[in-house]
Homo-oligomer: 194 residues x 2
DNA sequence: CGTCTATTTGAATGTACTCAAAAGCGGTGG
DNA sequence: CCACCGCTTTTGAGTACATTCAAATAGACG
C-alpha cells in the first residue's frame, strides 16, 4: 500500500501502535506533482511538510537577479519543505519545486499540531529528523569552507551517487556552490587525469 | 538564583509545571571552565549538553594539519556541545573549547533520556532549539556561497555585534571561512572607504 | 528536423590565498 | 618601569583557484 514507505521510515525512528498509525494516516494525504511545478515560492507560507514517495524535489534560494542556490535535493524517503516557514507559519525564504514527476505524502500544519498532541512520540520523530538534517548542514558549512571545488564535487558524488545522473549539472554546481562552467572543467580534468 | 537563566530560556519555548521544573533542576549540574580548557575533543564521546550561563565557547572542526574551522561561538543563553555525538553517543567530529572563563549548566546523556520520558514537553523544547539551529545553519550554507568575504564579514558583525569585540579576529575569519590576513585587508578597506 | 536548453571550451579577469616580514599589543619578570 | 617574549594583526608581493563572458557544441523534446 502507498503509505508503506512512510510507515517504514517512521518505524526506523519511533515505534507506533496500530491505533497511532491509523490516526497518523487519517491526517495525511497523497499529492502528485509534475516536473517543473512549484510546491512553494518564497514569500508564501509553507502549509505542508512533505514526505517524498518518488521523484525529486529541490529547495532553493532565489536571488533578486534570478540566480538560484540549491539548498537540497530530496528524493524517495526524504522530507521536504521550508521548515521554518512551516513551523512558524511565516513567509518562506526558500522555493520548493519539482524536478521529476513526484509523489508526496503531505501533512498540513494544523494536522501536525493535532498529531503532536495525540502522539507525543511524533515530537521525538521530528526532533530526530531535524537533528540529522542539522548535523549534515553543519558539516556542509565546514566542507564548503575547507574543500576545493573539485573535492566538493567528488564528495557530492560519493554521498549522492544516484543524484549525479538524475539532476542536471548546473543544479549540482549550484548545490556545491560553483558555476556550471567550472564544474564542467572539473569533470574534464578528472576524466583526463585518471 | 543561578538556574534562573535556564528556566527563563526554557519558558520562552515550553511551559513547565513547578514539579517538572524541580525535576529538571535535580538532573543538571553547574560547571565552571577556564579560558583555554576543552569541553570535548574530536574522537571523544560528548557526555553533556551545555547551556551557557556566562562566557564564550567555541565549537570547531580540526584538520589533520592543525587548521581550525569555527562552527559556532556560543555565549550566554546558547546551548553548546557536539549534538550528534551527544545524541548517538558516538565519537565527536568537533572540538569544543572555552575562549573566555565560562559557567555552564550541564545535562548528561543519561539524564536527558530520563527527562524526555518524564517530561515529554522537553522533547518539544529540544526539537524547537534544534530546528532554529538547523534553519540558521541552512542560511549559513547559502550565505557562504552567495556572499563575498566582505559581505560575510559585515553580516557577521550585524548578527553578532558583541562578539566582534570579544573574539580574536583570526577566529572570526575562521568562522566566516576566510584567512585572517584577508579579513585584516577587508577591515582596512571598510575603514578607508567610509 | 528545428528549437530550446544544457554543456563545453577558451581567454581575460578577479577574489581570495600563501608566504614572509614587520608592526602592534599584553603580560611577566628583572 | 622598562625590556622582552609570545601571540595577533597588518602589510605587500606573487600566485592560484574560480568566475565572467562569449561562442561553439551537444542533447532533449515536440
Amino acid at each position: 500500500m502507498i503509505m508503506e514507505k512512510l510507515i517504514k521510515n517512521i518505524a526506523s525512528h519511533v515505534q507506533l501502535t496500530d491505533k497511532e498509525e491509523k490516526l497518523l494516516l487519517s491526517k495525511v494525504n497523497v499529492k502528485k506533482i509534475k516536473k517543473g511545478e512549484y510546491l512553494l515560492r518564497s514569500g508564501e507560507i509553507c502549509r505542508y511538510q512533505n514526505f517524498v514517495l518518488s521523484g525529486c524535489i529541490k529547495t532553493f534560494y532565489l536571488e533578486r537577479n534570478g540566480d538560484q542556490h540549491v539548498v537540497s535535493f530530496d528524493v524517495e524517503n526524504y522530507w521536504t519543505g521550508d521548515l521554518f516557514s512551516f513551523i512558524n507559519q511565516t513567509p518562506a525564504h526558500f522555493n520548493v519545486s519539482c524536478i521529476e514527476d513526484s509523489e508526496l505524502i503531505q501533512i498540513s500544519h494544523d494536522n501536525i499540531e493535532i498529531l503532536y498532541k495525540e502522539i507525543p512520540k511524533l515530537e521525538r520523530l521530528f526532533r530526530i529528523l531535524i537533528q540529522n538534517a542539522y548535523v549534515s548542514s553543519q558539516m556542509r558549512v565546514i566542507d564548503n569552507i575547507r574543500l576545493t571545488a573539485q573535492e566538493k564535487y567528488l564528495k557530492f558524488v560519493a554521498k549522492y551517487p544516484t543524484l549525479e545522473n538524475r539532476v542536471p549539472q548546473y543544479m549540482v554546481a549550484s548545490y556545491i556552490g560553483i558555476t556550471a562552467e567550472f564544474l564542467s572543467k572539473i569533470k574534464r580534468k578528472i576524466l583526463t587525469n585518471s
